[in-house]
């Protein structure tokens, strides 16, 4: 993939970008500081945007693939049923998300835009803009470099600040349209992408994982897991969902609503007659690992985990993906 690079010549890249995005009619969604947390939210000024943080509590998924979305509405009248599908149109620009989170959007694209595409995601994603800000801070839970997620694979612009200079990589024609409005000069070299020191899982371990599905170690390791689903709810790339039918108070209309669910929940694989496919704790615990690290590779050739560390940060009993994989492979 050859990227076109530019050097930024203006005063403030965040102010310039914010103003351009606003003039193009985008809602600007950016990392902000709220109390002790960093949160992605719609901002009304570039001053609210932060770049020096480890991870936001929420992710682009919350905006592109929100929880609780109405798939259809139905109305009964005179023995007939009418069905309609509401489709929300929104222009959302993600400004200064991290490379790992841009790569999570790549996972969402892969699952949700695969034939036949999910119309709701397709609309929100098609109208979105992704501006990556290179990662300035990581912690001991991060492992993007172990899962090839250090550099973004999906973005319109990629902002790389180095030694006082700001470089901008262009990843799409939408990104080029914005570059055309910025004070920049093209460069013929690629800026240095610094290493983050997050290569915490040896690559050969991840490659070995596929052969260890039936390893007894999973049982031992999963003992501690509460099967609460916290890991999947904060995951920027988990898409599994439940569908519920809501009936209106008039009993003549209702909606079919999609809500996020989790593969660690007992009900996830419940089939007719009360049979549960993955009954045991270890079967449910390890399934997420296999989806993220093994099935994804065999089907699509890249990891569905981006090493953001949110699941480990979230876990109420302190389970850590890095340690789990090392334990299983050891």
């Amino acid at each position: 993939m050859s990227i076109r690079w530019f050097r930024y010549l203006g005063e403030s890249i965040s102010t310039d970008l914010f103003n351009i995005l606003k003039s193009l009619g985008y809602e600007v969604i950016a990392p902000t500081k709220m109390g002790n947390n960093y949160v992605l939210r719609a901002v009304s000024s570039p001053d609210e945007i932060v770049t020096d943080f480890v991870r936001t509590t929420n992710t682009p998924k919350h905006f592109l693939y929100p929880n609780e979305v109405t798939l259809i509405r139905w109305f009964r009248s005179n023995g007939d049923v009418k069905v309609e599908a509401p489709l929300e149109v929104k222009k959302q620009a993600f400004m200064f998300i991290k490379p790992c989170d841009a790569n999570a959007i790549r996972v969402l694209d892969t699952i949700l835009l695969d034939e036949p595409p999910d119309p709701i995601y397709s609309s929100l994603r098609g109208n979105s803009l992704v501006i990556v800000h290179d990662c300035l801070r990581s912690d001991e839970l991060c492992f993007c470099e172990s899962v090839n997620a250090r550099v973004p694979y999906v973005y319109d612009l990629w902002i790389v600040p180095t030694n006082g200079d700001v470089y901008i990589g262009v990843g799409s024609s939408k990104g080029q349209d914005i570059i055309n409005k910025l004070k920049v000069e093209p460069i013929t070299y690629q800026p240095k992408i610094r290493e983050l020191g997050t290569n915490r899982i040896p690559k050969e371990m991840l490659r070995k994982l596929g052969e260890l599905y039936e390893s007894p170690k999973w049982r031992e390791i999963s003992e501690k897991c509460l099967l609460c689903g916290g890991c999947t709810s904060v995951c920027p790339s988990c898409t599994c969902f439940e569908v519920i039918d809501d009936v209106g108070t008039d009993l003549r209309s209702g909606s079919r609503v999609r809500i996020w669910t989790s593969c660690v929940l007992r009900s996830f694989t419940l089939v007719a007659g009360g049979r549960i496919i993955r009954k045991s704790r270890d079967e449910r615990f390890k399934f997420r690992y296999y989806h993220k690290f093994v099935f994804s590779i065999s089907r699509y050739g890249f990891y569905f985990c981006t090493g953001c560390g949110r699941c480990s940060a979230q876990c109420p009993v302190g389970m850590n993906v890095i340690e789990v994989i090392k334990d299983v492979c050891r």
Binding site: W74, R76, K82, V83, A85, P116, P119, Y213, A272
Partner: protein, 272 residues
């Protein structure tokens, strides 16, 4: 507006209802005339306010004006379906799935082993064999139910039998009802019949234990996993590879890669 939105079902009506057994009914659903599907594909049928569930299409691929689903009242959606009658509305999506790999099955002998409502999963294949009988060698249907009362789609079985499909029926127990078939398990036939082995494909659909036992017994007879096919049942919310519910432990989706799988492409733990 709804064109191209895979979550938007078609509104269809129930043309007739057939009582198959004490807890199983067949619903004949009017399609409006342009319904096409491949044997082995399934539909997702919903009742407004109750939800949706996947059902194998049990009727012949030749029928365009209607399709049939055969439903055991076992969960919320299936119980709601059982309360519906002629003229009532259902919401239909699909057909989904790849269905049976007919190119792999044709020009071979076929042994179909079905247990309980698993017969529904192989019905559309049997209709295909019935319509295209000359494309297959010897064809067997080994079908077992709990009691003579629980034998479903009896008229289809009779029709298939008229086209030189060898049919062997079994029941777990007779409950005092007249019965001239086998009493025991359908898997007993694998031991007692002289089934073809060379140039033969085996298709299994039924309850987990029955699938597992059939598979083990076939392997015991020296049949290779690549000659054995299973039609799997898993939980599904979308039918299009998004909801993740039917993802198998080898990364394949029952909805878009199946629901029929050749056993050499499945880990043995999923053959149930």
């Amino acid at each position: 507006m709804s064109v191209g939105n895979p979550y938007v079902p078609k509104v269809m009506r129930i043309e007739s209802v057939v009582i198959e057994s004490p807890d199983v009914k067949t619903f004949v659903i009017e399609t409006g005339g342009n319904f096409t599907f491949r044997p082995g594909q399934f539909v997702i049928v919903g009742v407004p306010g109750y939800g949706e569930a996947p059902f194998a299409i049990a009727s012949s691929f030749k029928e365009r004006n209607f399709f049939e689903i055969t439903v055991r009242a076992i969960g919320d959606v299936t119980k709601a379906l059982h309360r519906l009658g002629v003229g009532d509305v259902v919401l239909v999506r699909g057909p989904y799935g790849k269905g049976y790999p007919l190119d792999e099955l044709e020009r071979k002998n076929l042994v179909i082993i079905a247990g309980g409502t698993g017969l529904i999963g192989v019905s559309s294949l049997l209709w295909y064999v019935f319509e295209e009988r000359s494309k297959f060698g010897d064809v067997y249907l080994l079908y077992g139910a709990r009691t003579p009362r629980d034998i479903i789609r009896k008229r289809d079985i009779r029709i298939w039998g008229s086209k030189n499909i060898r049919i062997y029926l079994s029941v777990d127990r007779t409950d005092g009802l007249p019965w001239d078939g086998h009493v025991g398990f359908v898997t007993d036939f694998i031991d007692t019949l002289e089934l073809p082995i060379e140039n033969t494909c085996y298709v299994i659909c039924g309850p987990p234990i029955m699938m597992k036992v059939s598979y083990k017994k076939l392997l015991g007879k020296g049949i290779k996993p690549n000659a054995i096919y299973v039609s799997l049942e898993r939980h599904m919310k979308c039918g299009i590879g998004k909801c993740g519910r039917c993802l198998l432990s080898n990364g394949l989706y029952v909805c878009k890669d199946g629901p029929v799988f050749r056993c050499d492409k499945l880990p043995e733990r999923e053959i149930e």
